[in-house]
Amino acid sequence: MKLHRKLIAACLLSGAAVSGWSQNATMEDVERSFHPYDFEMPETGKLQPGVVVTKDNVDEIGKDFLDEGMYQMVKDGWVDITVGKLTPIVQNEKYIEATRKNLNTATLGEEVGELRGYVAGRPFPTPPSLDDPRAGEKLAWNYRFGLHFGDAGAIYPFYWTFRDMNTGKVEKTLKMEFNAYNWKHRTLDEPIPEVDPNPANIFRTIYMRVDEPFDVKNTQLLIHRYEDDLKRDNAWLYLGFQRRVRRLAAGQVTDSFLGSDLMIEDFEGYNGRISDMKWDYKGVRWMLVPFYEHDKMELGDQYKEDDGFRYITFGGQGGCFPNITWQVRKQYLVTATPVDPSHPVGHRDIFLDAQTFAFSRINIYDRGDKLWKMWFIGQGPDYASLPANQGQGVPVYDGFGMMDIQAMHCTTGQFKTEIHPDRVTPKRFTPQYLRAVGK
């Protein structure tokens, strides 16, 4: 199979060399997009699995594979990075097939945020080109329609820990549930291709509920994202002590969520509209990113689950860094700059994983162009996850960290992710559900 793909790649690469960058994607592009490591592997030098990058050797072996934020942290001795083996993450064939079937049907509109003709799968599998002024935007669309939780997913329990990055003191721990559900462009889980009826023309919905601690218990968040990206998301918040569902003002989406270092806009890396940002593609980087096989990591016993599931642990400066292995993977660097001049973020440097289109690493700069926060999200193959997730062909999120470098504070997340759980249905994503579940 790999040989077959390489042959196709060789043939088509020669064609590409002649024609230069082309807007039209090819089947080769699809293969390259979903199986990049069948076509090219990183030259990592001494950076081999098992090697630990420390402040003492980072300049020698790691600097070229770290972004400026992570490099500085290693250099300062805040964290050592253990290198893991590259684990290609195979995605569900139905999604890939949808990409093939609908190849070149998606086109950008005149405005950022306008997408025409998209049906399903990855809308722009063509390798991005620095010559394409809208390449960053296309990558953002690929992220939006990626298989982040398949067509529906849940994280429960979902532990968020607030930490003082100077002292490591744990200030607060939230226990939550997170659900996401795609109403359109579904490829894996019935109903396919979309939920009907869907009078509001919703693309995706997110639901969160806080179970602990007591002061925010029963807080619930509901977000409706519409198919029309130019349309503002709608968000509702249920506050346990008020027992009411309140419409959320847009400003609250770009504000700290429950005191964490994340804004609602930071969920999953970026949880906003495409049209809210200006997307600039900056090129390919081979980067150390937090991808790993969950079951081979150093797992903790802090939280007990009935099924024996164990979570990743955290260490390093302030306990803000995951005790995992990092692997060198192909990343696309995109700079996302908010359109709204009053947005608290100056810009984000986003490293998208070229295979899964997860926002693996993000450096967030303030409006003074000073590094403000650093984000990572851990992702791994389904075979290393819960038994129910295995074979789903969906990359599995496993943990996150958001470090506020200026405030020396971080929020870390530990996941138990379920792909396509039966309980996550459209009925869960209504304001009424918030009222029914909230006490």
Binding site: F162, E171, K172, T173, V195, P197, N198, P199, A200, I202, D211, E212, P213, F214, D215, K217, H224, R232, N234, W236, G240, F241, Q242, R243, R244, V245, R246, R247, L248, A249, A250, G251, Q252, T254, D255, S256, L258, G259, S260, D261, S342, P344, A407, H409, P426, K427, T430, P431, Q432, A436, K439
Partner: protein
């Protein structure tokens, strides 16, 4: 004996304290072991100590609250089902720590203004009604001992001291001690009426308690241990909640048990959120509604279509409140928190009915006709006051129900609401049998007489709500509107002294997150403003008639404003990852002019400890006055006395509004903010969450 001391109070309090502590301990420590291991258990213990300027400690409330939740989805073929319970034990030590203000030693002797006759007289020292009707300085002459019960002979006022209106106000049953003057915390009488209010708990001083039985007749231990009563309020919530998935993908939801059901979308103002009554005795209007709604045994059944071809979400729910009716708890005379000072007014009036009372600045006819002046007058039992509280008995027809259609259309959330309920605030209905002080052998239901029963009429509410987001100004709006039919209000222009009015209430709320960089460059502030309007559609207000011997007429009718508006503003900020949360709340009553400012700062030390420091400061704007019915002529004898005419055959006459004061109806014009204007406080709360 109506007035007694409960000598074993301290022992009872100790026993109650021990019992409550044991319960709290059991709730906190034992429950997790006793209940199933997968039961979700959380809660807190808390001390809230408030200090009121001029009166000292006004609250030292200790609370233990435990919440239980258990997921039993799948049971009875449900797709989701949970059991939820909340138990709360509250002990307020203020009645021990500051018993000179709020407990067994509260109150004292009082004096009352003697109007145009000059000076002040002690309670019981007012002018007496002589036989023949005209008040004089003579003592009562009828030779029955005060404890003689004439009720079997004459019916009417159920008072053991009924003296046909011939007063013996100061007796062993109604001494001048343990009293406060009604409204005295706000001002002196200023030419208006006032009377003594017994302010000691009902186990210490029974005066004014019996007529308010089961409504405002709490003993000290019941005030201190407010959750432990015969309605088992320590069970804050106890219900099953769940849903069934139907074959057509719709859902049927249910919620049955003791619970709070919340309608509407706004804070503080209860336009649609009126299913549960509210306990204002906890901290007036300032505690979170979650903590002061009085849970009721109710069932809610809901059909959820979810998204349809037309609606983004749509559901229909039916609520049945099958619990025995409970009015809102307004607080009792002698408690630190009383909304509108109503508890004092009611108990003082109940004491007037039961034992008689001295009323300041009352019109005194001249012996030859006309008005001699205003003076402190002693009324005997059964003449004026509150006779009874008519709480509806439980029967099927007395239960309450509501229907709500709620959904989302074009990104606008909406609801349509219908509720058949009862007025949770009391209405004083006049026209009950009482004694004519000018002819004490006649008991009749006189027009305009200041003799009342408290009732809670049926009310029908129809309303709706909206929420929407306006992107251009990055703001969310919340709107509620309700029309009620059946509400009753005090009205000095009609013979029953109350009348019905349809009411429209509305609230518009505005929320916006806004960065204020010089205060916090990293975290936005929430700015939330609300405007509340209330319109009495059948408002009754006019200038009274010229009456012989009385001052020129003034306004009479309903003291409640025909149109009134309140405004609130909340600015809330967050620092240190939301562990340090300052906020300021301001509320302004447009018609009365009163303003409250409540700054607060909350500090969450960790997952467990929480400190809150608040202030509650009022900018007062004086005291409102209204016609107090002194200028009415309920009794033929009074008419005769004023006109020098015959004692019979004259029609009763409504008040002409020429005499007015802060008591009793000015309190409705002043509203909750104005009536608490002397309650500036510093409030400290320490909470341990688990």
């Amino acid at each position: 004996m109506a007035y007694s001391r409960y000598n074993s109070k301290r022992g009872a309090a100790t026993a109650a304290l021990s019992g409550g502590a044991l319960l709290a301990l059991a709730l906190c420590a034992g429950a997790p072991q006793v209940l199933a291991s997968d039961m979700d258990v959380a809660g807190f213990v808390e001390n809230a100590t408030y200090y009121r300027e001029s009166r000292g400690i006004s609250k030292s409330r200790n609370t233990a609250q435990v919440e239980f939740g258990k997921d039993i989805s799948g049971a009875f073929k449900t797709s989701r089902m949970t059991f939820n319970a909340t138990l709360r034990a509250t002990y307020d030590a203020v009645y021990e720590l500051n018993d000179g203000e709020w407990g067994e030693n509260a109150g004292g002797p009082i004096t009352l203004a003697n109007g145009t006759f000059g000076g002040r007289v002690p309670h019981g020292g007012g002018l007496k009604f002589a036989v023949g009707g005209v008040p004089t300085g003579l003592p009562p002459t009828l030779g029955f001992p005060p404890s003689t019960d004439f009720t079997p002979f004459f019916g009417g006022p159920a008072s053991p001291n009924a003296m046909f209106g011939l007063p013996n106000v100061v007796s062993m049953s109604n001494p001048n001690e343990g009293l406060e003057m009604l409204g005295g915390h706000l001002s002196s009488e200023n030419g208006g009426i006032a009377f003594g209010v017994p302010v000691r708990p009902c186990d210490i001083d029974r005066r004014g308690c019996k007529p308010l039985e089961d409504y405002m007749d709490l003993d000290e231990s019941e005030m201190a241990w407010s959750d432990f009563n015969d309605r088992w309020d320590f069970i804050r919530e106890f219900y099953l909640s769940g849903s069934f998935d139907l074959a057509n993908d719709d859902q049927v939801g249910f919620k049955v048990g003791k619970q709070q059901i919340i309608w509407g979308r706004t804070d503080l103002f209860r336009v649609l959120d009126v299913i549960n009554p509210v306990d204002y005795s906890r901290n007036n209007i300032y505690d979170e509604l979650e903590d002061i709604r009085i849970p009721m045994w109710m069932a809610e059944l809901e059909y959820r279509w979810g998204a349809t071809e037309f609606f983004g979400d749509i559901n229909l729910s039916f609520v049945w409140n099958f619990d025995k009716f409970r009015p809102s708890n307004l607080g009792q005379a002698g408690q630190p928190y009383q909304i509108l000072d109503a508890g004092s007014f009611f108990r003082g009036m109940a004491n007037c009915w039961e034992n008689g009372c001295t009323v300041s600045n009352f019109p005194v006819p001249a012996p030859g006709g006309g008005l001699a002046g205003l003076g402190a007058v002693d009324f005997g039992p059964g003449v004026i006051g509150i006779r009874d509280v008519k709480l509806p008995e439980w029967n099927l027809s007395n239960t309450q129900f509501g229907i709500k259609l709620e959904g989302v259309k074009n990104e606008i959330g909406f609801s349509l609401n219908f509720l058949e309920t009862r007025q949770q605030l009391p209405v004083l209905r006049g026209h009950i049998p009482s004694i004519d002080p000018f002819n004490p052998f006649v008991i009749d239901d006189y027009d305009y007489a200041l003799a009342f029963d408290i009732e809670f009429p049926r009310v029908t509410l129809i309303g709706g709500s909206l929420d929407l987001y306006w992107d251009a100004i990055k703001s969310a709006f919340r709107i509620e509107l309700a029309h009620t039919d059946g509400e009753e209000f005090a009205d000095t222009s009609v013979p029953d002294l109350y009348s019905e009015s349809d009411v429209v209430r509305w609230v518009v709320g505005w929320d916006r997150s806004t960065f204020i960089p010089f205060l916090n460059k990293d975290r936005a502030f929430l700015i939330s403003a609300q405007a509340f309007g209330q319109h009495l559609l059948d408002h009754n207000e006019h200038i009274g008639a010229v009456l012989p011997g009385l001052p020129p007429p003034g306004k009479v009718g309903m003291a409640d404003h025909e149109n009134n508006y309140l405004f609130t503003l909340l600015i809330q900020g967050w620092y240190m990852n939301d562990r340090l949360n300052p906020q300021i709340i301001m509320a302004h009553d447009y018609e009365s002019g009163h303003t409250t400012i409540a700054p607060a700062i909350e500090w969450l030390l960790d997952n467990h400890w929480q400190f809150t420091l608040r202030a509650n400061y009022k900018i007062d704007d004086g005291v409102s006055t209204w016609d107090d019915d002194r200028a009415s002529i309920p009794y033929p004898g009074l008419s005769a006395a004023l006109t020098g005419g015959a004692t019979t055959g004259l029609a009763p006459t409504a008040s002409n509004g020429g005499l007015r004061g802060a008591n009793p109806l000015g309190r409705f014009a002043d509203g909750p903010l104005g009536m608490a204007q002397e309650e500036d406080e510093i409030q400290i709360t320490v909470r341990y969450r688990f």
